[in-house]
Amino acid sequence: MDNPSMQDTSTSVRRRLVSAMSYVVPPVLALLLAGIVWETWVRVSDVPIYMVPPPSEVLKQLFWEFDFFINEGSVTLFEALVGFSIGAGVALTGAALMAHSRFLERSLLPLAILVKVTPVVAVAPLFVIWFGFGPIPKILITALITFFPVLVNGVTGFRSVDRGSLDFLRSLNASRREIFLILRVPSALPYLFSAFRVSIPLSVIGAVVGEWFSADRGLGSVIIVAHSNLDMVTLFDAIFVLAFMGVGLTALVSVAERKALFWHESSVVV
């Protein structure tokens, strides 16, 4: 790893820009190509618009109805993020406790696995009965679906500390709290970021599934309504916005990961 302060700033900025472009340009080109193939296929074989709409129509409507999709999208995004925060928060607390006690792990982990293997789709209608039609059932479904990856990786992460560092802190009579904050939390970060990469896309799924069952707001309900009207253009727009949301959130996690894990092997670019 180079020491950034030792480099000339302007070359470093330029180099960073070039390296960022080398990540952005290839996937954008591939996406563009896929769009052209799709458009050509729909036009040439005359696929009816209520089956598969051409991407140009989808983008056109997205442009004209931009405010609508932003509004509905932000409802879904809000549910996803709040749900994820609750799910991850509970999971981290649980993981911190379980990492310190095998007894707690043995008693609570099977429960967590039970929750995890129960299909969320099966529980969703129940939540509607219990919590009504507002954002709460969607947030809870999202919390439920994002909880498990964070819990499992958290327990592993908090425990996978360097033996020597642990011995060193013990030889100084460090308290459990000090060991947790100074050693266990940073050691767990690589594991936690792996979990976030899984849980963040799951949070969008959770919010959409929640909206399918009971909603008049959000992209999930847009999909249900468009589906019953055979309005494929709107349906695809909702899908596009959701996909974009997923990409954006995953990119945010990646950026945070690179900042936080500059010291870890996984962030060394080969």
């Binding site: 360097d162 011995d167 013990r170």
Partner: protein
């Protein structure tokens, strides 16, 4: 009651029990270490010398017997931050710079921080890393990382330094340099040092006294006083008396290999 003796090891035994068998790692080890003395525990791999060091440091409980450090139990010595540990692996935290790693001991068990603790800049200079304070461990060589670990162990002013094969993972050339570096650092304030090694040359160069342990079970095979003048230098290694000491130790080590 304590007059002079810093570390007192009395009839220490350690048994490790697995499901199928019990292994006697240490058998009735008794040893006194004076204030300011540099003692090496020398023995083959698996003779329990690291276990003995861990018992002194309070990281492992003995099955029988006990250890006192300045009249206190090892855990009391831990609580007062009197023990500076250096392991074979530097065990630095990769997310902290060299400086921040050295400062780390001051961030735990703060109530026991001493006013006499040396400033970080002084420690970096002492271990020859004054220009590398803001480097991360991954940017430093193995020898440099071990220097940081040594500075970290000195950072809170412990009276006893416990070193578990600290140069064992280094290449031969770095190892030799580090030996004399350690001597120079030790000469500056003469802490009590217990140093575990399986290198005869290392033991002779560093020690006031070498305790030879036999393998399985670990027993004190013999104790050799090294009366070479200090400061010790690399030229000494070809001296007659240095070679004699090395041969004595080798003989002691071999002897137990036969009846092992």
């Amino acid at each position: 009651m304590q007059d002079g003796s810093h570390v007192r090891i009395s009839n220490v035994s350690k048994r490790f029990t697995t499901t199928s068998e019990t292994l006697l790692a240490l058998d009735d080890v008794t040893l006194d270490i004076e204030h300011g003395e540099f003692v090496c525990l020398l023995g083959p791999s698996g003779c329990g010398k690291s276990t003995l060091l861990r018992i002194i440091g309070g990281l492992t409980e003995p099955t029988d017997g006990g250890v006192t450090i300045g009249g206190q139990t090892p855990s009391d010595a831990q609580a007062k931050k009197e023990l500076g540990y250096v392991f074979q692996d530097p065990s630095l935290m990769p997310w902290r710079t060299a400086e921040d790693n050295i400062r780390l001991p001051l961030h735990v068990n703060r109530a026991m921080n001493k006013d006499s603790a040396p400033p970080v800049e002084e420690l970096l200079t002492l271990v020859g890393l004054e220009r590398f304070g803001h480097y991360y461990p991954s940017q430093l060589s193995g020898g440099m990382q071990q220097r940081v670990a040594l500075a970290r162990a000195l950072a809170f002013g412990p009276s006893l330094l416990l070193m578990d094969e600290p140069f064992g993972a280094l290449d031969e050339i770095t190892r030799e340099t580090m030996r004399y570096e350690l001597m120079r650092i030790w000469n500056s304030d003469k802490k009590t040092v217990v140093f575990v090694t399986h290198s005869i040359a290392e033991a002779v160069t560093l020690s006031d006294r070498v305790v030879v342990l036999s393998g399985q079970p670990g027993r004190v095979k013999g104790v050799v006083d090294i009366e070479l003048p200090r400061p010790r230098t690399a030229d000494m290694e070809s001296n007659r008396s240095f070679v004699d000491y090395a041969n004595d130790l080798r003989k002691l080590l071999m002897q137990e290999g036969g009846d092992g």
